[in-house]
Structure formats: structure tokens, C-alpha cells
Symmetry: C2
Subunit: 289 residues, 2 copies
């Protein structure tokens, strides 16, 4: 008998669809029920075996579900939380796949109120270029990290169930407090995106932009790869994690001020020191992966 | 009969050695004479066929050379220019492979004085991870860009000879004024390196640096790849191109200020606009390569 009975997935694209396929591949789930914004997406997801059937009414699907994964863009989560909150069964555990946690937790608290213990926030670290159900892959999470950000109200059983599900998908499970999660991802993901967008924009709006792009080479290519990311998605992530991102941005601006001072003062020693520390850290990081 | 007679190369590593090999591969040179800082390097270069022989005394090698390529780090160029200046023959053309041009031109003017017309500055855009003569490859410049930055004093024949040599190596030849060159490369190469070093350094010096690096993923990897570059080399490049780099750094800081304002003011529309312009420019750039 599979470890999980009914699993409901809101958003049957890359993140939710791959979660569904991974549980199925492991024989760990009895039934996957999918909800989505358009009937076409759900039909495709069913045809290619990502879900077993499309859900019609949350009132009929949530109460007896073991796990409800909300894997939509973060902006859509408040609405979904509100729609499912009245129907949580005593056994139902809800989790999410959002890349920011503080805002999602606040919305979940508003919707689930005294049942917030049944919501276990999480963030699977597995982006990819493509989206939609046809981008889903059973092995997307193999060896990837999933960060679970437990709430004080989460019981052991709720926490374990979410961790187990992601483990079954092949992921390595980490725990961070929601605030620590948002601080870390502001620094290592959201800020670099902002910085990369900023560089390309600064060049693109110049009258003689063409001459700059003509001579841009491999260093530019790597540095700006993430500037080809989705503008709306990154607008939402930046706003959702605004407070932590502002802190990281200000820390970075102070770092640039220091570099400017060293450069303007011809302080080669300080420049080399900063570059050297960065190089060593970058090499150790790459070597440890 | 080969197009070029004697070619003298100062610095027989990746840049100079590959130039030598490419000319030989094309059958375009009679003899390659190498100068270097250590006898060992020159012996290796000769053994693997990068040079035909090691030069001993510039007084005996420069006067009858068709081309003298100075392919050392920029910091060593003033000394080499001073050593060879007394021996330029009427037919000798000197060129260089430095990645900054304003400073090299100033040093060349000081050394060559009224014979500055015999110096044609250039910058081959072909870095690689490795260095030394054994890293040299005959095909390094195939399809790569070489920027020639002519001086008002350069005659057509001098300019053509340098362009021809790089064309024979398989490169595509571009022309920029030295100041334009330095401005462009400050923006698309030197600044991104500075920004990438800054991000990694800002994280590396934190007490809890470990937690940040633990969750850094592919976006961080691409953005920081150039932060593993050589600290001394980049110190020298930043200082050599200090004025142009300061201008670009200040332009970028103003861009960050604007992004900070939009973020702090919850101005999603402006964020999306900036991200969208960047994304489109990045995609067009990648598509055009």
C-alpha cells in the first residue's frame, strides 16, 4: 500500500507536476488530483500522466487528502489558501513550493488561523528554463535541496510527512526558520538577479548600446545569464521578499562604496585583498559542490 | 614566401604563444623569436614549437623584425617598450595584446616618442583559464574578435600589417579609438568582474557565511564564475583602466539607487519595466552571437 493516499496539487506545472510524477514513480501515492487555472493545462497534465484526474471543487477534495501542495506563483497562494481553508480535514497537511517564505507564512496564518499547524512551508530549490505540465520530470528533485521552514505550531507528524514526501522525490531536506530562509535567498538568489538585470538595463538604455553589446564576451555572458529571467516572476519575488532584499542590497551598496574608495585612491593592496578573499571563497564553494 | 619575415614575441604564454602558433600554422611567418622572463618558459616554448628560438638581446632582434608583439601583462610593458625603442628599424611595427589601451598608449608614447607611428595598439579578445606556453593553441583566435585602436600617427601600412597578422590568425578585426575601447571594456568586462568579486566578498566575510553558500545555486554559480578570476591580474586591470571604470561604476550605482527606490516604494511596474528591458536586450544579444 502506498505511503500516501490522496495528494492534491494546485498548479500542475514544473514544480507541482514534477512532485506528482516523482511520487508516482516511487509508487508512494494512491491518487493525484490536480487543480489549475485553465482546463487546457489540466487536460494536458492528465493526458501525459502527471495527474490522475482534475479536481472540480475543493470542498470535495481537500478533507480526505494526505497532502495538499500549493505550487502556484506566490501571488496566487492567498486566494488558494482561502479556498481550501474551510475544508481541511483533521489529517490534511498543506505545504507549498514558494521561493519566499515570510509572505507565504503570513498569508497562510490569515487563511488557516487556528489550524496553521497543518501548514508546513517549504521551498524546493529546482528551477528550470521551462514551465507548464509538459516540463514536469519525475527526476527533477533527485539530489536537489528542499528547504522546509517549520512553524512553531507544526507538530512532528505534520513536519515529518512533508519531509518524507520530498525525500521520496529524491531531494535532500534542510531546515531553516522562515526569516533565515528569506535572508539567505535574498543574498544568494534575489540580489544577484537584481544586480544582473541592473547591469544589462544600464547598458541597454544608452544611445550607443550597440557598441557595448558588440564587445561583450564570456564574462558578461555568465554574469548576465540570469538577466534573461522572467520579469513578472522576478518582480513578484523581489516585492514578496522586499524587506530582506533591501537589507542585502544596502549591504552590497556599502561593499561597492568600499571598492570605489579603493579604486579612486589607487589602493591596489585593498583591491587585491577583496578579490583574493572572493576568489578563495568562490573556489571553495565550487569545489564543495 | 611567407607574408611575414621575422616576428618577435615578448611573452610566450597563451596570448603571444597562440599568435605565434597561428602564424606558423598558416605558413605566414619565416621565423618566430621569443623573449620571456625566465629561461625555463622560453625553453618549453621552443621545445613545443611555439617559437623557433629564444632571443638574447633586443639590440640584435628588433631592427629587422616585421612585427614585434608585446603580449606580457600590461604592467611589464613600459619596461619592454623602453628596452626595444632604441632598436626599431625603419620597417619595424610594434603592437601589443593588452586588455586596456589608454595606459598602454601613454607608455608607448613615452618610450617611442617621435616613432610612435610604428606602434599600433590592439586587444585580442580571447581569454582562457590556463596560461603559459603549453596553454597556447594555434586556433585560439579563430572567430574571435581583435580590437585594433589606431593612433593618429599610424600610417596605413603599419595599421594594415597588424590587421593582416590577426586576420591570418583567424580573428575578426574591429577598430575603436583607445578611449572608446577602454569605456566599452570597463562596462562589459571590468565592471562585471568588480561586481562579482564584491558579491562573493560581501558574503564570505560574514560570520555565518556557510549558510549562504550552502543554498547558493545555479544563478549564483553563473553570476560569480568570474569572481574566481586572478586577483593580481584584475587588480592591475582595474587600476590601469581606473578612470573609465569609475565612470561605469558610478553609472551602475545610480542604477542600483533607482532600483532601490522602486523596491522600497513597492513600485512593481518600474521593477518589471527595468527587468523587461534587460531581459529583451540580453536575449537579443545572446541570439545575435
Amino acid at each position: 500500500m502506498p505511503e500516501f493516499g490522496k495528494v492534491v496539487v494546485f498548479g500542475v506545472g514544473l514544480i507541482g507536476g514534477s512532485f506528482a510524477l516523482a511520487l508516482k514513480e516511487a509508487g508512494a501515492v494512491e491518487e493525484i488530483v490536480g487543480f489549475g487555472r485553465t482546463p487546457v493545462t489540466l487536460r494536458v497534465a492528465q493526458e501525459i500522466g502527471v495527474i490522475d484526474r482534475a479536481g472540480i471543487n475543493p470542498a470535495h477534495e481537500i478533507g480526505d487528502a494526505d497532502i495538499v501542495l500549493v505550487a502556484t506563483p506566490v501571488a496566487q497562494m492567498p486566494d488558494i489558501f482561502a479556498r481550501i481553508a474551510p475544508y481541511l480535514g483533521p489529517h490534511t497537511i498543506v505545504t507549498d513550493g514558494g521561493s519566499t517564505k515570510g509572505d507565504v507564512v503570513a498569508e497562510a496564518r490569515a487563511a488557516f488561523a487556528e489550524r496553521i499547524g497543518q501548514f508546513v512551508p517549504a521551498h524546493p530549490i529546482a528551477g528550470a528554463e521551462n514551465s507548464g505540465p509538459s516540463a514536469a520530470r519525475w527526476d527533477l528533485y533527485q539530489g536537489k535541496k528542499v528547504v522546509v521552514t517549520p512553524l512553531p505550531e507544526n507538530g512532528d507528524e505534520a513536519l515529518d510527512r512533508v519531509k518524507r514526501a520530498w525525500s521520496v522525490c529524491g531531494a535532500d531536506i534542510y531546515e531553516l526558520a522562515p526569516e533565515a530562509h528569506d535572508r539567505v535567498f535574498a543574498a544568494v538568489s534575489h540580489l544577484p538577479h537584481l544586480l544582473s538585470f541592473a547591469l544589462v538595463h544600464d547598458l541597454a538604455v544608452r544611445d550607443d548600446a550597440e557598441v557595448f553589446f558588440t564587445f561583450a564576451a564570456s564574462g558578461f555572458r555568465d554574469f548576465t545569464r540570469i538577466a534573461a529571467s522572467h520579469p513578472e516572476m522576478w518582480r513578484d519575488i523581489c516585492l514578496a521578499n522586499r524587506e530582506a532584499l533591501l537589507v542585502e542590497l544596502d549591504s552590497y551598496r556599502a561593499q561597492l562604496d568600499e571598492l570605489r574608495l579603493a579604486l579612486a585612491g589607487n589602493d591596489g593592496e585593498r583591491l587585491e585583498e577583496i578579490f583574493g578573499i572572493a576568489r578563495q571563497a568562490r573556489r571553495e564553494w565550487a569545489g564543495g559542490r
